[in-house]
Symmetry: C2
Subunit: 619 residues, 2 copies
C-alpha cells in the first residue's frame, strides 16, 4: 500500500529517496512523487506508474537538496493521475506533505476551506489535510509572536485533532529548513536514526542498508526530526523517551537472484521457510510443539474454552486452517472472523476466549484495529506475524514469528504456507495440553518435520503444472473446490489466481456447488478440485462427476495415486500421501504454481498486480 520515505541529512536526498521508493515498490502502488527542498521552496515531481517513470523525470532535472520527502500512492480518493499523486503542496506553496491512510471527513473540511477562499488542485483527502495545516499556520503566525516551529507544531496538532480517519504523514515547511515532521494514527511510521542524517518512513525496508537503528512511532505521536537529533511528543505535548531498536536484515533476501519473479523465488523458498517456522519449536521429547513468545502459562491456557482467530485476505484463510486443525486435534472450539467485520460488530464473546491475529506484515490496519478492540475488552491477544517489530507484533500480548524472510511478491505464498504450518504446530501444542496422547503427539511431530521434504517433492511438479497452466490460461472463470481442511486451501487457490491473473476465480466447499454455483459450470469454466483420500474421498469424486456431467473441464489434485479413477478428470496432479496435519501446507503448492504460470502465460505483472498493495494500511 502507500509508501513514505523522508530524508534529512548531508547527502543529496533525491537518489536516496528514489532508492527507498524502489525498495517499497513491492507494497503495491499506482503513482509516485517526490519533493526536494531548495532555496526557493520545494521542487515537486509526480508521475503515475512505476518509480522508474519518476526516476527518469527527476534525474534529468534540478532536484538538488539534502532534505526531501517522497511517496508511492495506492489510490483511495480520486483517480490515478499526476495531480492526485503525493507529495501535496499547500495552496500557498509553504508546505509539502505525504500521507498514508484515509481522512474520512475530508469533504466537510474541504468545503469549509473553499468557503475561506482556499483553492484545491486535486481530488484527494490528503491535499485537504496539508491545506488545513497551512491555513492554521498562517493564522498562528499572524496572530502570535511565537516562533515558526511553535506555530507549526500548534497548527499541526490543531489540524490533526480536526480530522477523522487514519494517517501516517511526513511534512516539510519552507520556513523551517532544518526540520522534518512526522505523525501517525493508524498508519505505520518510523524513524531511521543515522549518523548526522535521519529518515522517516512507513517501513524499515525503505532505508535498508543505511541504518540499523529504528524508532517505531505509536499512534498519537509526533516526531520532530533534524539532521543530528530528533524528539517525539504526543498530541497533548507530552515528551516521549524513544526506544531505539536494532534491526537485522539480510539484503540478499530482498534481491530477486536468478528468478524471473519474486513470487516464483518465494514459492521455491518454501521448504526453507517451513523449516525456519519449525526451528527450535519442538519439545525435547518430540511429542509436542513449543513457542517462546506466547507469554502465557500452561495453567492459563488450560482455562481457555474457545479461540477466536482474526485476519484478512490470505491470513483469513490461514485462520480457517487453524479452525479445522485445532478443533480436530485439540478439540477446542475455534471461531474465525474477518478482522474488518469483527472490529465493528461488538460480537458477544465467552469470557474464557483466547484471541489470535494473523498478519504477515503486522501492519494490516483492519487486523490491528480488531486486535485493539479485543484488547480493549480485556481479551488476551496473541499474534502470528512475519515482520519483526511490526505494530501488531509490538502491541499484542505475545505471539509467534514466522521467520519466513521478507516476502516481496504481493501475492502471498511462503508467508501463507508458513502460517498454515505454524497453526498445525499450534494444534499439536494445544492438543497435547488437552487430550492428545504422547504417541499421537510424537506421530504428528514426526509428520510435521517431513513437510519441507514433501514441499520439495511438490515443487518438482512445476514443469508439469506449467504445461497444464498453458492449456487453461485463456479461460476467464475458474472454480476451486475442496472440502473440510481443503476448503480454505481452495479459497486461497482462487484468491491467488484472482490477484495475479485478474481471472474471476472462486472457491467453494464442493458440496455447495449444487446450491447455486454449478450454474457457472460450462466448457469455458474449468474447475480445480482437490480430492484426498479419507472419509469424504468418494463424495469428492461424486462432486467431480457432477461437473463432468455438465461438460466442465476438471483439474484434479489428489494423493490417491493409481486409485484415482482414470478419465474422471481432464488433468490430474498427483501429490504424495502424508498425514493430514501437512495437507494445508502441501496442497497449496500446486495451487500457487498453477496461478503463477497462468498469470505469466497471460502476460500479467506477477509481482505487482494491478490495484493491489502488499500490506494493507488503509481500512
Amino acid at each position: 500500500m502507500c509508501g513514505i520515505v523522508g530524508y534529512i541529512g548531508k547527502q543529496d536526498a533525491a537518489p536516496i529517496l528514489l532508492d527507498g521508493l524502489r525498495r517499497l515498490e513491492y507494497r503495491g502502488y499506482d503513482s509516485a512523487g517526490i519533493s526536494i527542498r531548495n532555496a526557493e521552496g520545494f521542487k515537486t515531481t509526480k508521475r503515475t506508474g512505476r518509480v522508474e517513470n519518476l526516476r527518469k523525470a527527476v534525474l534529468g532535472s534540478d532536484h538538488g537538496g539534502d532534505i526531501g520527502i517522497s511517496h508511492t500512492r495506492w489510490a483511495t480518493h480520486g483517480g490515478v493521475n499526476d495531480m492526485n499523486a503525493h507529495p501535496h503542496v499547500s495552496w500557498n506553496g509553504k508546505m509539502t506533505m505525504v500521507h498514508n491512510g484515509v481522512i474520512e471527513n475530508f469533504a466537510f473540511i474541504r468545503r469549509e476551506l473553499e468557503a475561506k477562499g482556499i483553492d484545491f488542485s486535486s481530488e484527494t483527502d490528503s491535499e485537504v489535510l496539508v491545506n488545513l495545516i497551512a491555513f492554521l499556520y498562517e493564522a498562528e503566525r499572524d496572530s502570535n509572536g511565537t516562533s515558526d516551529l511553535e506555530a507549526l507544531m500548534k497548527s499541526l496538532r490543531g489540524a490533526l485533532s480536526q480530522v477523522e480517519g487514519t494517517y501516517g504523514i511526513v511534512l516539510l515547511c519552507s520556513d523551517l529548513p532544518d526540520t522534518m515532521l512526522g505523525a501517525r494514527k493508524g498508519s505505520p511510521l518510523l524513524i531511521g536514526v543515522g549518523n548526522g542524517e535521519n529518515f522517516l518512513a512507513s517501513d524499515v525496508t525503505a532505508f535498508a542498508g543505511r541504518t540499523q537503528n529504528v524508532v517505531y512511532l505509536d499512534d498519537g505521536q509526533i516526531a520532530t526530526v533534524a539532521r543530528g537529533d530528533f524528539s517525539i511528543t504526543t498530541m497533548d505535548e507530552v515528551a516521549i523517551s524513544p526506544i531505539i531498536n536494532t534491526i537485522s536484515w539480510d539484503i540478499e533476501d530482498s534481491e530477486i537472484g536468478n528468478y524471473p519473479h519474486f513470487m516464483l523465488k518465494e514459492i521455491f523458498e518454501q521448504p526453507m521457510a517451513v523449516e525456519n517456522a519449525m526451528r527450535g519449536r519442538f519439545s525435547q521429547d518430540n511429542s509436542t510443539a513449543q513457542f517462546g513468545g506466547l507469554n502465557i502459562e500452561p495453567r492459563e491456557l488450560r482455562q481457555i474454552d474457545r479461540i477466536l482467530f482474526l485476519g484478512c485476505g490470505t491470513a483469513w484463510h490461514a485462520c480457517l486452517v487453524a479452525e479445522y486443525l485445532i478443533e480436530k486435534y485439540a478439540r477446542i472450539p475455534v471461531e474465525v472472523e474477518y478482522a474488518s467485520e469483527f472490529r465493528y460488530r461488538n460480537a458477544p464473546l465467552d469470557k474464557n476466549t483466547l484471541v489470535f491475529t494473523i498478519s504477515q506484515s503486522g501492519e494490516t490496519i483492519d487486523t490491528l484495529e480488531a486486535q485493539r478492540e479485543a484488547q480493549r475488552k480485556g481479551y488476551r491477544v496473541l499474534g502470528i506475524n512475519n515482520v519483526v517489530g511490526s505494530t501488531i507484533a509490538r502491541e499484542n500480548d505475545g505471539g509467534i514469528y514466522q521467520h519466513s524472510g521478507p516476502e516481496i511478491g504481493v501475492a502471498s505464498t511462503k508467508a501463507f504456507t508458513s502460517q498454515c504450518h505454524i497453526v498445525a504446530m499450534l494444534s499439536l501444542y494445544f492438543g497435547r495440553m488437552r487430550d492428545m496422547s504422547f504417541s499421537e503427539g510424537t506421530e504428528i511431530a514426526k509428520a510435521l518435520k517431513k513437510a519441507p521434504g514433501l514441499i520439495a517433492q511438490a515443487l518438482n511438479h512445476a514443469g508439469e503444472i506449467e504445461s497444464i497452466a498453458k492449456k487453461y490460461a485463456h479461460h476467464n472463470d475458474f472454480l476451486f473446490l475442496g472440502r473440510q481442511l481443503m476448503f480454505p486451501i481452495s479459497l486461497e487457490g482462487a484468491l491467488k489466481l484472482k490477484e495475479i491473473s485478474y481471472i474471476h476465480a472462486e472457491g467453494y466447499p464442493a458440496a455447495e456447488m449444487k446450491h447455486g454455483p454449478i450454474a457457472l459450470v460450462s466448457p469455458d469454466c474449468p474447475t480445480v478440485a482437490i480430492a484426498l483420500k479419507g472419509e469424504i474421498y468418494k463424495k469428492s469424486l461424486a462432486n467431480i462427476q457432477e461437473i463432468k456431467a455438465r461438460n466442465g473441464p476438471v483439474i484434479a489434485i489428489t494423493d490417491a495415486g493409481k486409485e484415482f479413477p482414470e478419465g474422471l478428470a481432464d488433468d490430474v496432479i498427483h501429490l504424495p500421501e502424508t498425514h493430514e496435519i501437512n495437507h494445508a501446507t502441501l496442497m497449496s503448492i500446486p495451487m500457487q504454481l498453477l496461478s503463477y504460470y497462468i498469470a505469466v502465460e497471460r502476460g500479467c505483472d506477477v509481482d505487482k498486480p494491478r490495484n493491489l498493495a502488499k500490506s494493507v494500511t488503509v481500512e
Copy 2:
C-alpha cells in the same frame, strides 16, 4: 433435483405421469423419461431437455397402460443424454426403475456384475442398482419355490443392503402386473393414496389435485403399492402402520398467472409472504414474537449458551443473517456452518448449544443429514422450513413454518426474505428472553410489522432497476459488497445473479476488497455496493471511492437519500430508511430485481436455469 412419479390405477398412466413431471419441472432437471407397462413388458421412452420433448415423443406413439413410472433427471454420474436418462431397464428387460440419489459403490458392483456377464447400456449408478436387483431376482427364482413377489422383495432387500449411498426408487417387475414398489434412504418418497389408484412420488406436487392423502416414507422403508391398497415394511421385514396425512394446497399458487416468470411473480408476492410469516406470531402486548411449534420451554431456552445454524446455499445466507441479528439483539453467540461440512467435521460443540436448520424444501439432503448428526449427538434441533410435512420438518424437534406458499422459481426469492424476517423475529424473541427491555421490544415489533409496506415501496423501483439492468447486462463479472448485516445480503445478491444469468458474481465484505479481490476491478466489472447509514457508512463510502479510483462502475444501494454524495456512484437505488431489523429483508429486493432483469435481458431461462435443481436431494 431429480423427480419421481409413479402411477398404478385404472386410468391411462402416461398423461397422468407427464402432468406430474410437468409439475416437478421447477425442481430442475436435464432429461426425462417414462416406462409404461403393457402386455409385452415395458414401453420406455427417454429424452434430454424439457418434459415437453418427452410429451411429444410419447403422445404420437403407443404408450397405453394403467401402470407406469417416470422421472426427471439431474445428472450426477454420466453426461446428459438419452441413454443416461431414467427409467433404467434391467439387461434382461424384466425390470424398470427410476432412482433419485447417488450409489457410491456403483463402480465396484458394476465390475462384479460385468464379470458375471451382465451388459450395461448407460454410465449411470442407477442402472447398476436395477441390474443388481434383477440379477438377484433371477437367482431367487431359479433356486426357490417362492412366489414372484417374495422373490422380488428378497432381491430388493438384498440389493439395497449391498449399496452405499442414498436412494429413492420406484420399481416395476414384468412378472408382477399389479404391483409397484418403492424404497427410500436419504431421498424423499411418498405415497399418494387415491380411490382405486395410488401414486409414488418424490414430492406431493406431482399428484396435486388428484389426491390429498399422503403417506411419507421414512428411511429404510419399502412400500408395496397395488391399485386398491398398499403396505409398508422395513428392511428387516417389520410391518409399519401407515399414518395418512391430509394436505391442503391451493393449485392457484402453483400457477404463473399474468407474470412472464415464476421468479417475478414470487418477487412480487413478498409483501404477502412476509405478512404470512408474521401472522399470529406477536405476543398480546406486542413486545415480543412467539412461535407455536418450537416445542421448547422458556426455562430450557434460558439454559442455552450458544446457537448453531446450519444450511446450504441461500438458506446458509439466511443463517448468516441470523448470526448477526441474534448476536446483536439477543447477545447469544451464534455460529454458522455449511450443513454439508458440519456433517463430516465432528466439530466440538458446547453442551448448551441449540441447533437450527434452515431449508425451504425441507428435503435438502445435506441439511437433513447435518440435522441427524446433531440429533445423534443429543442436541435439540429446531427447523425453519417452508414445505409442510417435509422430511426435515418431520424429523426435527420443533420449528417454524414459513408459510410462504409454493416457491416454483429455482432461484429462491420470497422463501429467502421470509427466512430473513423469521430470524429477525427470532432475535426479538430471544432478545426479550434475555436483556431486551419492554420498550425496545415494542419498538422492534412495531418496525417488523412495517416490513410488508417497505417491501412494496422497494418493488416500486422495478422499472428503474430494469433500466439499470439493461445498462450492465452485457458484463460477465460482478462484485457485490456489503458490511456487517449486509455481507450475507451481498453474498445472496451475487448468488442470485450467478444462478439465473451465469454471470460470475461474487460477494465480499467491502473491507476485504483490498486484500485481493480489488484486482478484478476494471471498467468491465461493475460493483453493486450497499451503503447504509450508521457507524460504518463513511467506511462504506471510502470503499466505493477505492473502486471508482480504479474505474470500476458502481451501482449503489442506499438509505441515505440526499446525503449520499452526488457523483460517487454511477447509479444509485434509493430505498427508504428503516430499523436495522428490516434491513436484510428490504435490501434483498433490489438485488433480486437486478438479477432478474439482467437474466431476462441476456435471454436466460430464468425459472429453469441450467445445471440447477430446486431442492437438492443428492449430496
